[in-house]
């Protein structure tokens, strides 16, 4: 019999001390498994937390911890990013594996996909070399049943000599049994099964080689290949004993048919663009009405607040600070940013839940391959739509350090939800007549899609440039698992995206916006020379701004908006208003008039949109980039490169439009 830790010492040495279970007061249970088998869903169900889940491998890139109680005992549950085996391929997998090897966990729950059991069982067998306390959780049983795959868990438990629980975490089925079984395994309720777990016997030369490490008969690669195939073969044998398949396999057929559409030569490309445009169209059209109601409501409220403050004799200067500074910036963010976010996020999450995103990576891989990048960069770009900082963290799914840097540097070319409503607002203010007209909203969606595609192209182009200059190297291998399509859980998606994401992002924006509003109001009201500090700064930046097709105020707003891109437009509004032309800002058209009276034309709007697409990442993203790369050089380059690209594009566009 071969114990895994001998084996691991031979291959891979975890750093740090081994801590025994008795050193800790809590019972620690690790949640391991292949990627995309629903570990995070199991985790959320057991702990009641809200880890983000999605239908693609690599959604969880960092370990998460939570607690659950069963029978009066507290258990600490650790969700580990997915892995295929105990051979690490990247620093993050190494960390996950190290955690398991360190013996910090009292028990390990190995989550397996019922529809793809053999690979899960192979991991179970490898885990069995590490610890006796294993609980096998056969998840996604509902989905497998729809595919005509049925797992006999009793037989599987008998064959493996381990407790096995069948679950369907998405629907909450089997979670009670899982918790109870985990508690039993840790010896806290009921007697532990005395049965010895299954141990895999490897071919003789390898057993010999490991029991006598001095003996150098075989090289590392051969051992890995041989043990991996023994495991898979044994896992196959186990599975064939306890998995039954219906002859009729209509569901998998449906998947293949969908794949033919979504990855077809013409239809695949068309679907990508059409889906993107459709999502934008729904967002622009749907966000328009609540935006108008909200800004009208806030407009009325503003008058009321002004009267109130005046009535209780608040000094004029404080009134200005609170109303013109803090209140206006905050209400702008709520009325203009919230509706598009609240529509775009759920729609995007639905696509993610359905399993479409990996198909996008699959379709775009050859493009990215030619740019020297990894196809998974498409996935991290997609995450960038939500938040660039999240996208940068997500780049951990890319194994090659070179390709990961490419993905990190180019992530900010994708407008995050802070910049995205700004684009929709500018498009509807300057490039369309009225958004309510169906033709105009379609045109708006088309323009936005074009703009996003431009951002994507820029990220491809910069990847190409970088891989020819600073990040030279051969593209590494690319393996991507395409998960089955799943029917998205609409209600849970709505709930999750509104409460977890939208409100969180909004809260962060508001937290930044209120002080920023105050700061800029103060800047606009402290006299300096002939004007104020703000007008002096704007004046100083004016030549640069003009050269880029904008003006000093816009550039200043972008600079001051670095903590959160959401506040760029409110900063512009405030700066313009401080320069004299006070308007009643009850709706979008009033803002448009304000901009126009300050010399805005369609060309200014276009350049502002282009610059918004390509400029420095927000401060949160910069900090995240530093954390991920641990390199000041790459953090600075991730700021300089998009800014340079934006400057070139804007200057070019401005020159072109001046010419016509």
């Amino acid at each position: 019999m071969l114990r895994f830790f001998h084996f691991s010492d031979y291959f891979y040495k975890p750093e740090g001390k081994r801590s025994s279970a008795s050193e800790k007061s809590q019972v620690v249970i690790a949640l391991a498994g292949n990627p995309n088998v629903g570990k995070s869903t199991v985790f959320n169900r057991l702990t009641g937390l809200h880890q983000h889940t999605g239908n693609w491998p690599g959604k969880t890139v960092a370990t998460a911890e939570g607690f659950f109680r069963h029978g009066g005992v507290n258990y600490r549950l650790v969700d580990i990013p997915g892995m295929y085996s105990y051979e690490p391929h990247s620093a993050e997998e190494e960390a996950a594996i190290e955690f398991l090897l360190s013996g910090s966990a009292d028990a390990v729950i190995v989550v397996c996909d019922a529809g793809c059991l053999a690979r899960g069982i192979s991991l179970v067998m490898q885990t069995a070399e590490l610890t006796d306390n294993i609980l096998v959780c056969v998840n996604l049983t509902d989905e497998a049943a729809r595919r005509g795959i049925h797992v006999d868990t009793r037989k599987l438990s008998h064959m493996l000599g381990m407790p096995v629980v069948a679950t369907s975490a998405a629907h909450g089925r089997g979670m009670e049994e899982l918790a109870a079984e985990a508690a039993r395994l840790c010896g806290h309720s009921g007697a532990r099964k005395a049965k010895k777990p299954f141990q895999l016997k490897y071919p003789e030369p390898i057993e010999q080689c490991v029991s006598d490490p001095e003996k150098k008969g075989l090289d590392r690669d051969k051992i890995i290949a041989s043990t991996a195939s023994s495991r898979i073969r044994m896992a196959d044998a186990v599975c064939s004993g306890c998995v039954s398949r219906d002859r009729d396999n209509a569901r998998s057929e449906l998947d293949r048919r969908l794949d033919r559409i979504f990855t077809g030569r013409v239809s695949g490309r068309l679907c990508m663009i059409m889906l993107l445009a459709f999502v934008f169209w729904l967002t622009i059209t749907g966000a328009n009405y609540p935006s108008e109601w909200l800004s009208a409501m806030f407009g009325h409220l503003e008058g009321f607040l002004r009267n109130l403050l005046a009535a209780i004799h608040i000094p004029r200067i404080v009134q200005g600070l609170l109303i013109d500074g803090v209140y206006r910036v905050l209400t702008w963010i709520i009325s203009v940013m919230l509706p598009p976010m609240a529509i775009f996020f759920p729609l995007f999450t639905l696509l993610e839940d359905a399993g479409y995103l990996p198909r996008v990576a699959f379709n775009l891989d050859s493009c990215l391959h030619r740019c020297g990048a990894c196809g998974k960069q498409a996935l991290t770009s997609c995450m960038g739509f939500g938040c660039n900082a999240v996208g940068v963290t997500g780049c951990r799914i890319i194994d090659s350090p070179r390709e990961r840097l490419l993905a990190i540097v180019t992530n900010s070319f994708i407008p995050c939800n802070g910049r995205f409503p700004m684009l929709t607002a500018l498009i509807s203010m300057f490039l369309l007549g009225s958004v309510a007209a169906p033709f105009d909203s379609m045109l708006g969606a088309a323009l936005l899609t074009g703009l996003i595609c431009l951002g994507l192209l820029a990220s491809f182009g910069v990847s190409k440039l970088l891989s020819m200059t600073l990040l030279r190297g051969v593209p590494s291998s690319f393996t991507l698992e395409l998960p089955p399509y799943r029917k998205p859980r609409v209600l849970s998606v709505l709930f999750r995206s509104v409460f977890d994401r939208t409100l969180f992002v909004l809260g962060r924006a508001a937290a930044v916006a209120a002080p920023a509003g105050a700061v800029i109001w103060i800047m606009a009201n402290i006299p300096m020379g002939s004007g104020t500090i703000l007008s002096a700064v704007c004046h100083a930046l004016d030549p640069v701004g003009r050269f880029l097709g904008m003006d000093g105020v816009i550039l200043t707003a972008f600079l001051l908006g670095m903590p959160a891109n959401e506040i760029v437009i409110p900063l512009m509004i405030m700066a313009y208003m401080a320069q004299g032309s006070l308007t009643d800002l009850n709706d979008i058209s009033a803002i448009r008039d304000l901009f126009v009276s300050n010399g805005w034309t369609a060309s200014t709007a276009v350049c502002t949109m282009l610059f918004s697409l390509m400029h420095w990442p927000c401060s949160t993203t910069c900090i995240t980039i530093y954390k991920e790369t641990k390199s000041l050089k790459w953090t600075i380059l991730s700021i300089v490169i998009p800014t340079a690209a934006g400057a070139i594009v804007c200057a070019g566009a401005a020159a072109l439009m001046r010419f016509f």
Partner: protein, 85 residues
């Protein structure tokens, strides 16, 4: 069905094979082993991306996308499809 040996990337859509050896460079080789491309495993080429590369293969009940460069290191023997595909 012709029982010839070829590289995995030479299979056409819908064709099946049995893996003879999973080669490639070290890093990729290990990744492929983890995904189930071990000697004797059944593999089926399912469909290709719009540009023809990468292609998706069915293995071990999962669908895995591989670039032609990476799949060329895997030798397969063409077979008729096993009972359940």
């Amino acid at each position: 069905m012709d029982n010839s040996e070829c590289a995995l990337c030479d299979l056409r859509d819908g064709e099946c094979g049995r893996v003879l050896s999973a080669g490639g460079c070290r890093e990729l080789g290990r990744r492929l082993l983890d995904l189930g491309f071990v000697e004797g495993a059944f593999v089926k080429r399912l469909f290709a991306a719009p540009s023809g590369d990468p292609a998706a293969y069915g293995i071990c009940g999962a669908v895995i996308a591989l670039r032609a460069d990476d799949a060329s290191g895997i030798a397969v023997k063409k077979t008729s499809p096993p009972e359940f595909w």
